[in-house]
Amino acid sequence: MKVEISRRRFLQGSVAMSIAGGVGLSSSSMMASVAAPAKGKLSNEDKKVATLCEMCVNKCAAIAHVRNGVVQKLDPNPLFPKSRNMLCARGNSGIRALYDPDRLKYPLIRDGEKGSGKFKRVSWDEAYAYINEKLTKILDEEKDNRSTVAFCAGEGMAEHTFKNFFTMFGSSHFLNHASLCLATTVSGYSLTIGGYGQSDLDNAKYVIMAGANRAEAIVTPDTMDFFKRTNGRGAKLITVDPRFTNTAAKSDKWLAINVGTDLAFVLALTYVAIKEERYNKAFVENYFNGFEAYKEHILSSGYTPEWAEKLTGIHAADIYEVARDFMAHAPQAIYYQGRRTTWSKNDFQLRRAQAIFSAMGGGVDVKGGICFGRGLPLIDHDVAAPIYANAKSRIEKDEAAVVGGSGSWVAFRNMVLENRSPYPIRALFNYKHNPMQNMPNSAKTEAFLKKLDLVVTIDTMPSDTVMLSDVILPECTYLERTDPVVSYGGIEPSIAQRNKAIDPMFETKNTMDIMLGLSQKVSKSLFEISKKHDEDVQMAIEEDGEEAVYKDFDLTKPFLHSQEELNAHAVEKYEGAAQMLKDKGVFYPNMNEYFKKVGVNDYEYYPENKRAYSVLNNKFKTPSGKIECAIPSLAKRGIDAMPMWKKEYEMEIPAGKFRFITGRHAQFTQSGTNNNKLLLNLVPQNYAWINARVAKKLGIKFGDKLEVSSKAGKTTIKAYPTEKIGPDTLFFVHGFGSYSKALSLAYNNGGNDAAILEDGIEPMHGSTCLHDTIVEIRKV
């Protein structure tokens, strides 16, 4: 076929320009680039690098086309079973993150009041030296209590590298997104059925998705597997959501639920299944622990659909129907676990109730149910961490029943801010995380960050949190780095690796190099502090000599090898894996034999009989080896042993006000993509969903500016009147309305939900309650 005149050549030039100039795609450079010579056919000349997308948590496999050192295009890499040969809108826009003119380019040190936005450019060494000076001073003053320095991280492939530094450093405070995201559902399902598992949406016949918006909040492979099947091709979907989402649009039934009342809904489903004896009796009898008591509790508490109707707003008839249909389709029936489950105070109990109800159908560890799958273990690169005698335990450990290794972010912040901390918290290291936008009540987060003596942030963009930091360490974007190889267990397990497409631009570095440089700088001087304050260290030195003891305390140890070396080592036991991962980005045993193209769009990764649908042999990974209906040990910590409804879960919405909910959008990732030019071209900003009839009464039309306010603060946003939301609920997409002026497109663009969210926490893990805020609106 003849090569048609390609418009693409214009693009090639323009991206190249943007690198040469170090600035973005201005229209003048676009015009100039028209003269750039065409390079002929695309695919044959390009270097193709197998990488993994990092625009969100899913890490879809991608092929980066590189020419003359410029990433031209990202295509899906079909080899990865988890991402099923797709890239979403955000994945396609990754190049815009790489070439974003606003991205962080050089290390910076604050050069003015905190929050003034003034920074000065420094060398890496100067940045490290500054951190070193501050850290030694703090730790000296705090007598080597390493826990006075906290570490927080968002999800990311190099999160572990950063965590290695934290571990070596010896603080007790690691805080990550879990308490803002999925802590309650992961633990709710784990403590009940022995794991969070993977919903087998490729084979399930009946799925209840409550507060999980898979059509917009993309999770792989769930999104792809399921929506191929929902409309007319074999899977029934019941969507339970206060909003009519894109997921609702794909479902067989949409149940508009009152915010925060899901627990009542699940209890009523359970009631119907028990009362009408529709559950999988054999399964329950054999594999449930404490079912009789649960049954008794449900029946005697009167959790009837009629009772639930009053709370949830869902008709009793619908509840009967869903419970019956669910059990009729079981065990190929799933009450979907959900992902961002930090909603309200009853969240943990809700997830437990879901897990029990789901398991009552028998759909656990079976095809079409919740599966646990198989893993492909990697060889760990272990480094022994030193022990610091003076490091104290977590300050927020008693703020909730179980505060795990990822902490309770909100409780931690509030204790520091309100001077409730038993000892001072003075510094924060932050990796790939934006608490200013992702933790409720941004006014408090701002005050918290200002209160600290040292905030070091590793980021790619000048986020709101970056602007409140003292030292900014610019990481290169994912297309400029090789990251730790990762193994993805599941029904079709595989190992995947991100390979660097181009060299880091400007003076950016990957996390491994940043941590190496930092640890080289601080290791010795921090050891001096321990020597001074830590009696154990002093004794050890007396016994073994300083050199030998320092070896244990040498912070550089985890960072001495290149990522490539470490990755090769990690997959050593799989023959040919290291090379395969470099070339193709994906590996699993027998891949060459199993992987097949079966249609223009479809690939087979494992033959049916090799997929890990059932792996447990009915021995669940719970204390009793069975599905746990009750967890008495929790009762001691004030957590109900069995899910139950409580009066305190009922929340009044005063007339004229709204309960505010937040959530995802298919074209954006939390706060991380709000400056992405391509995505903003698709959707310029977020809008507040308000019921159309209510809006009409208030004289609010589409596009009118609203001020939304709560006890926590206020924000302004344009109105989107729609019947897709109820009269007493207000919603807008999370992640917009940045305060950072350095984000030229995101600054003040749309509404900022972190500004108005109140910061309550739930009692189990101290997870944040993102849907417990009452707001008012005013047309401005």
């Binding site: 698709l682 959707v683 310029p684 900003q685 977020n686 809008y687 589409f702 344009k718 989107y720």
Partner: protein, 390 residues
């Protein structure tokens, strides 16, 4: 041809009306060049046309000018080609007007078409023979050549036979070109409100009306409302023709609207209903463009020439709205009624309002016409040369 010098060229009697016309001409001309300058600086960004409404005021003005030209050509041919005696005096003035208006039209469209030079090349190298625009453009090019020759043999080198031959050619090619312009709209299968036979025919009809209006304006100005008998007689006859043409046009429009609304055919009915409710239509096109002139002619039994001259001013304003409506109404209905993103309202009737630059170039084109007419009037004797034709 008159003998002339630059000094003579720019000398005119300083009557209030002449001064007003001078200011108007210079102002519009300046607007035209300012608009062109802005277009050269900013390209199509200077226009308010969009993906959903790709044609705007400039196309309307182009149509306005070429319709005027065809109209003048047709009216002039009544005397000049068909030999009706009273109308022979119109000849030169009308042909000059036809040349001037079509030139202004070409000037305006040159700044609407993105690549006029490319057009000249590929119109010839790879002609799109199924394209109404190709035929329209090519025929208009030919038409301009013919009427220039016609004028040459009429006003410069007086040669009655040749001028008549070229006149006939010009008329025929002009009619063909002009109905093709109608077909540019009539061929649009995507636009049910425009699609069909209506526009090609209607274009000829409305051209003749435009020609009449312009003749009234030119003569009104030429004789400062003091018409010699011969002119008076001609204008009364013209007025009768105009009255009849207007009656037919009104009749035509009514049936167009009725057939469009009848049966509520999707897209078409809604489009026409929306269009006729707009003041552009009922006030501009209908009242100014047709009803007032028609009423004046009807009530005075075609005798009130002065009033008809004034009515012709309104008539031309109406014709402007007619041309604007032609383009805008054709593009009114969105080609897809679905939203393209969640946070927007569903597309309804496509909106468009010309930008300053479009106004400057489009209306500035009138300045171009006035200026050229002034020059032509100075350089040539546009009145009938006594005894030349008998």
């Amino acid at each position: 041809m008159n003998t002339f010098s630059l000094k003579k060229l720019f000398f005119f009697e300083k009557t209030p009306l002449n001064l007003l016309m001078a200011v108007l001409t210079v102002g519009l001309l300046a607007a035209f060049f300012a608009g062109v300058a802005n277009y050269i600086l900013h390209g199509h960004h200077a226009y308010n046309v969009t993906r959903q409404h790709p044609w705007g005021l400039l196309i309307s003005m182009y149509v306005f000018f070429v319709v005027s030209s065809t109209g003048l050509c047709i009216i002039s041919s009544i005397g000049h080609v068909f030999g009706i005696k009273e109308f022979q005096q119109i000849g030169k003035r009308a042909i000059a007007g036809a040349i001037i208006t079509i030139s202004s039209g070409f000037a305006v469209i040159a700044f609407e078409i993105g690549h006029p030079v490319t057009m000249m090349i590929y119109n010839v190298l790879t002609p799109g023979l199924t394209s109404a625009i190709w035929w329209m453009g090519t025929l208009y090019g030919l038409y301009l050549t013919f009427i220039c020759l016609e004028f040459f043999f009429l006003a410069v080198k007086e040669h009655h036979t040749l001028s008549k031959i070229f006149g006939i050619c010009g008329l025929l090619v002009g009619l063909a070109a002009h109905s093709n312009l109608g077909a540019v709209f009539g061929f649009l299968v995507s636009r049910p409100s425009a699609n069909g036979v209506f526009y090609p025919v209607y274009f000829i009809l409305s051209a003749m009306i435009t020609g009449c209006y312009l003749i009234f304006l030119m003569y009104g100005f030429r004789y400062k409302m003091n018409f010699p008998d011969k002119v008076q007689v001609m204008l009364v006859k013209l007025s009768k023709i105009l009255g009849m043409l207007l009656a037919v046009l009104i009749f035509f429009e009514i049936w167009k609207i009725l057939t469009a609304l009848y049966g509520d055919m999707p897209e078409r009915a809604a489009t026409i209903l929306h269009a006729v409710q707009h003041p552009n239509f009922w006030l501009g096109e209908l009242t100014l463009g047709m009803l007032i002139p028609f009423t004046v002619i009807l009530l005075s039994n075609a005798q009130a020439i002065k009033a008809t001259v004034y009515a012709s001013i309104l008539g031309m304003v109406g014709i402007f709205f007619m041309r604007y409506g032609l383009v805008h109404d054709t593009l009114l209905y969105p080609m897809t009624t679905l939203k393209r993103a969640e946070y927007e309202l569903a597309p309804t009737f496509v909106e468009y309002f010309p930008s300053i630059t479009e106004f400057a170039i489009g209306l500035g084109g009138i300045g171009l016409s006035l200026f050229l007419y002034y020059i032509a009037d100075k350089v040539f004797n546009l009145d009938e040369t006594e005894g030349a034709h008998h």
